[in-house]
């Protein structure tokens, strides 16, 4: 397959200039995700306002897929509740495992090519796992294993 199917411009661009790549001083939820296979580690910071995500940021080092996915995720999760975040993660997982793009969600759909690279699905979901753990108030290390 053509590598540009995996590395869509949305992914390359978010990898080069990740959004919300910062520690939140006012974060009240934090979780770390790590992938023991490659040593990638992402810390997700969430500032909850009631049951909504007022602000979200991340830091860490990893491959283009994991960095871009976390970057896109932070843009999509701001202002959402835990239930909405989990529903969105469910849709994202479907996209990266089934390769079925969601016409209504072009940014998440940019990751559809990942399904042809099974070894890389964990990269795409790393930041999401950490974010969901943070939202559950589990300030623990999420792992892809």
């Amino acid at each position: 397959m053509d590598l540009t199917e995996l590395y869509q411009s949305v992914i390359l661009e978010n990898n080069r200039r990740p959004r919300n790549f910062r520690k939140l001083p006012a974060a009240n939820r934090v979780a770390v995700g790590n992938n023991p296979v490659c040593g990638d580690e992402i810390t997700v910071y969430v500032q909850m306002d009631g049951d909504r995500i007022a602000d979200i940021g991340f830091q860490g080092a990893g491959c283009a897929i994991s960095q871009a996915s976390a970057s896109v995720m932070t843009q999509r999760l701001k202002g959402r509740t835990l239930a909405e975040a989990e529903a969105l993660f469910g849709r994202f997982k479907e996209i990266v495992t089934q390769g079925t793009p969601d016409e209504a969600d072009l940014d998440l759909s940019a990751f559809a090519g990942v399904h042809q690279f099974p070894a890389r699905i964990k990269c795409a979901t790393l930041g999401w796992h950490a974010a969901i753990n943070a939202l559950h108030g589990e300030a623990v290390t999420a792992t892809t294993e």
């Binding site: 397959m1 390359l12 080069r16 040593g39 990638d40 990893g62 491959c63 897929i65």
Partner: protein, 417 residues
């Protein structure tokens, strides 16, 4: 198999001995450059495994019938061959294990009764996790502490300036890699063993990355233990060798208990079999030993000095040509090195580089290569590694350099969009 050619092996022709190399991956001829993880197997090794299972398979040492006799003879012949392969004083100094990792764990376990609080175990900052974690566990069991020989920096050399004073700090055992799996550094093993011996320190050489590449002589090295894996030297997975100096093996406690390792067994206690059987509980990987025997024959028909010159030469060539790629950071010594090269690329994570190369049919490895503390020290989480063996060619180095250059542009370079 091709006939041995002591002076100048026909490297291109040797490729035909490896059936797996004759295939395309993602539409491109396979370029297999992940040999430090595991090497491919020649037809002679595959045939030896098939022949063993089709004609000779039986359990060893415990029966009188013909097949058992054949299996036992083949297994013990492999032991004698391994002794010759590393120039051990006798076959009794060869213990078959699952691989280098199990060999190191065997020694670490057996040393539980020999260490006390205040004692130290010396390793290096470039250890593979398999030559670090077993010693951490031993330290935890005994109250001993770990000391480290520092690595100088990106050039990946051991800083040996303080070695003698380190060894003097109540060190009982010094374990180090012969060739670093993530830097390619060839450590001066004979010198390290000599300096340890002068202070009465026992040595263990992790030869996982050297046994199938460099000439190996445990008596010339002067080591007490040396561990390696069959699958990294053209042999099957699941079989490895631990060499141990006989006097030490005689003193040491057994590793695992079970059949074969005992002399007599009572309900309350048992006595141990002679070395090396004392350390080989249960039915061993007989077919693996037979396959490893064939692999050692294959390598020595080519000649290990020739193999070392060939794959070390490819690695040096790759190192100097990759140095011209914009944004690259190369690790390990620029000059003499083992058959691998490891690097980071600005703006491109190792896993992206490996995926990129894989689409061109080039098998690389990206990640921490099981040396996480080393990369933490050098300030990088993951590198891309290309590792060579006897069947790799200069044309494959061309393809490697080309794909890395393209990946650098694709992920971060000026020309990308």
């Amino acid at each position: 198999m091709n006939p041995p050619a002591a002076s100048a092996p026909d490297w291109a022709a040797l490729r035909a001995d490896f059936p797996i190399l004759d295939q395309t991956v993602h539409g491109h001829p396979l370029v297999y450059l992940d040999n430090a993880a595991t090497t491919q197997k020649p037809r002679s090794v595959i045939d030896a495994l098939v022949r063993y299972y089709e004609r000779d398979n039986a359990n060893v040492h415990r029966a009188i019938h013909e097949l058992s006799y054949r299996a036992t003879t083949a297994y013990e012949a492999a032991r004698a061959r391994a002794a010759r392969f590393v120039n051990a004083a006798s076959p009794e100094e060869i213990i078959f294990t699952r691989g280098a990792t199990e060999g190191i764990n065997l020694v670490a376990y057996a040393f539980t009764s020999r260490l006390r609080p205040g004692d130290a175990i010396l390793v290096t900052e470039m250890e593979h996790h398999s030559n670090l974690v077993p010693w951490q566990l031993l330290a935890r069991r005994t109250g001993a502490r770990l000391l480290f020989v520092p690595v100088t920096g990106d050039d990946g050399l051991l800083d040996l300036g303080d070695l003698d004073s380190l060894l003097a700090r109540n060190v009982k055992l010094f374990a180090f890699p012969h060739v670093s799996n993530s830097l390619g550094t060839i450590n001066p093993a004979a010198e390290l063993c000599a300096r340890a011996r002068r202070q009465g320190v026992i040595t263990l050489v992790d030869a996982a990355q050297s046994a199938g590449h460099l000439p190996m002589d445990v008596q010339a090295l002067g080591c007490d233990f040396l561990a390696f894996s069959g699958h990294k030297m053209a042999g099957p997975t699941g079989i490895g060798v631990l060499y141990g100096r006989r006097a030490l093996l005689e003193e040491m406690d057994p590793f695992q208990g079970g059949g074969e390792m005992i002399a007599t067994v009572h309900y309350e206690e048992s006595t141990w079999n002679k070395v090396p059987h004392k350390f080989e509980a249960g039915t061993p990987d007989i077919a693996g030993a037979v396959g490893l025997h064939a692999a050692m024959d294959y390598l020595d028909a080519i000649g290990r000095p020739a193999i070392a010159a060939h794959d070390g030469g490819l690695a040096r060539d790759a190192y100097s040509r990759l140095a011209a790629v914009p944004g690259i950071r190369l690790f390990g010594p620029p000059g003499e090195r083992g058959g691998l090269v490891s690097f980071g690329l600005a703006g491109a994570h190792a896993h992206d580089v490996v995926t990129f190369a894989d689409q061109e049919g080039i098998a690389l490895r990206g990640g921490h290569h099981c040396t996480q503390p080393l990369w933490r020290k050098l300030g990088i989480t993951a590198t891309t590694r290309a590792s060579f063996y006897l069947y790799n060619t200069p044309a494959e180095v061309d393809r490697l350099v080309e794909v890395i250059r393209t990946a650098a542009e694709f992920f971060g370079g000026q020309g990308s969009t």
